[in-house]
Subunit: 117 residues, 2 copies
Amino acid sequence: MNGSDAPSYDSMRNLRWSPAEKAIARKAFDLVLQREFSAVIDEARKMMANVKQVSALWELEQYLTERRKDIDRRYDYRYSVLPVVFGNLISEGRLSERELHGLGEDKLQCIRKYAKT
Amino acid sequence: MNGSDAPSYDSMRNLRWSPAEKAIARKAFDLVLQREFSAVIDEARKMMANVKQVSALWELEQYLTERRKDIDRRYDYRYSVLPVVFGNLISEGRLSERELHGLGEDKLQCIRKYAKT
């Protein structure tokens, strides 16, 4: 930690993830991603059920394109950026800290700081 | 007509469409376009009904993008190119000549030539 509100990228990159921590991180990451996917599928089904004209179908297409790009951008499973990803997901209410139970305090502190910024 | 298999673009551009012919052309054009839209909506509904995983949803997105671009490209309602559009639609089996009943023989000859090329 460098004392500022957000940890430096260097300190984040230098975190060492144990195999057990990697397993916890992967599980949490996949869990939230699956929740996103389920929400998109549910919303797409609702939109399709209301399609009467083709214009509504192109709206569905646009919705899917935007959601796919947004999800691709936000879900980046590299350990060098994972604390930012988890921090953002917590601040968006998509992930709770208890779903990261088992991560070392160094990672959790880093994630908490990103959750606040 | 210039005697070759396909009429020249000049002869096509120089065709004069009467108000009655324009009404017939518009009606035929809209009819085929609506058929295309209905087919895309039906296929999209089937694809959505089979979505279990998000990968199938992104396949639906790709299908919609391709269909939208393809339809945009093929349906060009400018009188200067309409005989080509109608000719192509006839050769694809999407339009029958009887749906163009009432167009002058000059337009029909031009359309028939494009339907054959």
